[in-house]
């Protein structure tokens, strides 16, 4: 027994020295090495190489440990071992900024050329939180509908027209479902992108908002919001144009960009798919589709111009980063035309620099060289709007709750009106509770409204 323990102890000591000894420390090649928390998309290598070329003395390495879960990066930053540059999606910025781990970029931004004026007007708001800029886009995305011309031909359905409306969409979808197919294959008219995506696009398309401009009240029970969710419900259960969760493969939760909708479309089983331009960088996987794709703006609703959600993957800087100067240079690089050029040729959504996305022909890239395909994305970004946030409640909590209630509607557990009413009440209750308990929010309230805070503020 003693011998066994002794042996194992020796083995352990050996392993320990071996393990520690072979750990490669940061490469000492004279350059500063930035840790960039992003997904391990192979396209990053090209982007990093270009960065190295422009800024000798600095380079970056992908740190995939976030794995889509911002909480891990958050904890790392909060305890001082975080990455230098952090990719932030949508609501993550508010969480990270509130946690105090993001560097306020405002003092550096205009000097170094990455203030909001350097990107699309519609994407500017998402860079700023409570008056301070915290990030700059790596890419910007807005959904259009891409369609498989082969399936349209197969069912003898005319292609969507550029300014089509919701009614046109329903008509086209029904034709796709009902017309006999020449090849004998049954196709889905529309690959479901998930309730949240659809609902948010519809909400923006109707000019709706999540909160009032001062962020004090949730307005998800507005007529626009009700109409948006009701529309989703109708398309699914009344017109039966969108497959219900119970009918088909729904969102696969396997990581990366693996949504079931993309699979359905890419395998040639669905005719239409709402997605951003970043689909192009997946095209190499589906050679059968090349040359047969068309794209069109999201259908417009209620006489308003077509509008969808603009989202961006934007990079921020860890406030405790030891390589702050180098990290700032990285953000400067993101604003540069060279970086945007890489994004354009890679097809990784829209480049942050609007100058390179002025027209369809300008966006032609390696995988999809039909300028007509690129044009709708250029147009969409002009009318797109982001989903708004409120400083009085965590954005990711709101997103989670919205997702829950949309899922309830999808599964016919609640009607859209009920769901939105309950959701709005829930969000407002939480806002009230947050205001009650946090003095910093009360100060913000007083700044915004000019009135002193009182616990009955919401009754007025």
């Amino acid at each position: 027994m003693k011998a066994a323990f002794a042996l194992v102890t020796i083995l352990f000591v050996l392993m320990y020295t071996g393990a520690e000894g072979t750990l490669q420390g940061p490469k000492n090649d004279g350059r500063v090495h930035l840790r960039w928390a992003t997904d391990s998309n192979p396209a990053r290598d090209v982007q990093i190489a270009e960065f190295g070329k422009l800024y000798p003395g600095v380079t970056a390495a992908v740190d995939p440990s976030a794995g889509g879960d911002i909480s891990k990066v958050l904890i790392q930053c909060a305890t001082g071992v975080g990455p230098d540059v952090i990719d932030l999606y949508g609501d993550s910025m508010q969480t990270m900024a509130d946690a105090g781990v993001l560097l306020d970029l405002t003092p550096y931004a205009s000097k170094m050329g990455f203030d909001p004026s350097h990107t699309y007007p519609s994407a500017r708001g998402a860079l700023v939180y409570r008056g301070k800029q915290y990030r700059f886009p790596c890419n910007v995305s807005v959904n259009c509908i891409i369609y498989n011309k082969q399936i349209f031909d197969d069912h003898n359905v005319p292609y969507p027209t550029p300014n089509w409306t919701e009614q046109d969409f329903i008509r086209t979808a029904k034709l796709l479902l009902n017309n006999p197919s020449k090849s004998g294959h049954h196709h889905l008219a529309y690959a479901p992108p998930g309730g949240m995506t659809f609902y948010e696009d519809e909400l923006i398309g109707r000019g709706g908002r999540v909160f009032t401009p001062d962020g004090l009240r949730c307005v998800l029970d507005s007529p626009q919001s009700n109409s948006a969710l009701q529309d989703y419900y109708d398309l699914m259960f009344v017109y039966k144009v969108i497959p219900t969760p119970a009918d088909t493969a729904s969102i696969s939760s396997q990581g990366g960009w693996g949504t079931g909708a993309i699979n359905w479309f890419s395998s040639g089983d669905a005719a239409m798919l709402p997605i951003g331009r970043w689909y192009i960088c997946q095209l190499y996987n589906y050679p059968k589709l090349e040359g047969h794709l068309g794209s069109v703006l999201l259908p417009s609703v209620g006489g308003l111009p077509s509008a969808g959600v603009v989202s961006s993957r934007a990079a921020g800087i860890n406030v405790n980063s030891k390589n702050r100067a180098a990290a700032l240079k990285f953000l400067q690089y993101l604003a540069s035309p060279q970086y945007s050029n890489v994004i354009v040729t890679d097809g990784d959504a829209l480049p942050p620099d609007p100058m390179l996305a002025k027209s369809g022909p300008a966006l032609v890239d390696s995988a999809e060289n039909d300028p007509a395909f690129q044009q709708p994305f250029v147009d969409a970004i002009k009318t797109a709007r982001p989903i708004d946030e409120s400083p009085y409640i965590d954005a990711d909590v709101v997103t989670q709750w919205m997702g829950d209630y949309v899922a309830k509607v999808e599964n016919r557990l609640m009607t859209p009106k009920e769901a939105l009413a309950v959701l709005t009440a829930q969000v407002n209750q939480q806002i009230r509770r947050n205001l009650e308990r946090r003095q910093d929010l009360q100060k913000l309230y007083e700044q915004q409204t000019g009135k002193p805070y009182s616990s009955n503020w919401w009754k007025s």
Binding site: L23, Q24, S40, V62, D63, P64, G80, V81, P83, Q254
Partner: protein, 288 residues
């Protein structure tokens, strides 16, 4: 009568054999599918067929970064060898410390009389009912304080103490007759000698059982390494698999190849050592 009985016995034996074999096949089906999927090319992974129509062994070199991924033309950024080593190393370290400290403590709880012994032991037991997740937060803060984040010792040391291990070994040791202690003491043995030369050999089944359980637990643990590590060189396989799945979640054949490589060594180890585990649990038994 005898003939009848042996006839029934034969019949019963066949039925049992049949049932057991069917159950065996059912339980191993997911593994079969896993192996089969790892030998399928990209285009075929979505089909139901168990036997690949165009079997390919290419997925394994791809996952091991020997051959580039044909889709992207680049190498998969995995470090399988290193991750394996890390898993084994961390598990060995954790097990070594846990078994040692638990055995020593179990000895103190079972063979020695001292004031407050049972109260302290009850404290140990009570803490087992606390959800582990909530201990992570203060432990993480402690790790930050000692600068143990992103290090090997930060992974091994907190996991090296277990109330469960102490509990298990205490139960085993309680079943050893105290007369042995007394005889040894009369013969002039120090408690240390009693521990090593008498108690430990007798508690061997329990020690082995604890070793296996601890090793398995440490090998499979993923949450603590996940929040502790940011340097991918230190990842154990469990965390490595997670990042592999989120980056390559769509490429089932690669994921399955990685999973097979993760699981097969465990199977081999188990098949060769399964005698010990079972005998350990059987001899000790569990006293309610």
């Amino acid at each position: 009568m005898n003939q009848n009985k042996s006839g029934i016995r034969r019949y019963g034996f066949l039925v049992r054999l049949l049932v057991l074999s069917v159950l065996g096949v059912v339980i191993s089906l997911p593994f079969v599918w896993m192996v089969s999927a790892s030998f399928k090319p990209r285009a075929e992974v979505e089909n139901i067929n168990l036997v690949p129509i165009h079997p390919t062994a290419r997925n394994y070199p791809i996952v091991l970064s020997i051959v580039p991924d044909p889709g992207t033309g680049k190498f998969v950024p995995m470090q399988f060898g290193r991750w394996y080593f890390n898993s084994v190393f961390i598990a060995v370290g954790t097990t070594l410390f846990q078994v040692l400290t638990s055995a020593l403590a179990a000895f103190a709880f079972s063979r020695l009389q001292w004031r407050g012994r049972d109260t302290v032991f009850l404290m140990y037991l009570a803490t087992m009912m606390i959800p582990g997740v909530v201990l992570m937060i203060p432990n993480y803060q402690t790790m930050v304080l000692f600068h143990f984040i992103n290090t090997y010792h930060g992974l091994i040391i907190p996991a090296a103490f277990s109330a469960f291990g102490t509990f298990l070994l205490r139960q085993f040791m309680l079943s050893i007759s105290p007369a042995l202690d007394e005889a040894a003491t009369i013969d002039g043995a120090s408690p240390w000698m009693i521990f090593w030369d008498i108690i430990m050999p007798l508690a061997r089944p329990g020690v082995i059982a604890l070793t296996i359980i601890t090793f398995l637990g440490a090998y499979q643990s993923f949450f603590w390494p996940l929040i502790m590590l940011s340097d991918s060189q230190l990842y154990p396989m469990s965390v490595g698999m997670l990042t592999l799945d989120s980056s390559y979640g769509q490429q089932t054949e690669l994921i399955m190849a990685a999973t097979v490589m993760n699981v097969v060594p465990l199977i081999v180890i188990f098949v060769t050592c399964q005698k010990f585990l079972v005998s350990g649990l059987q001899l000790g038994g569990v006293k309610g």
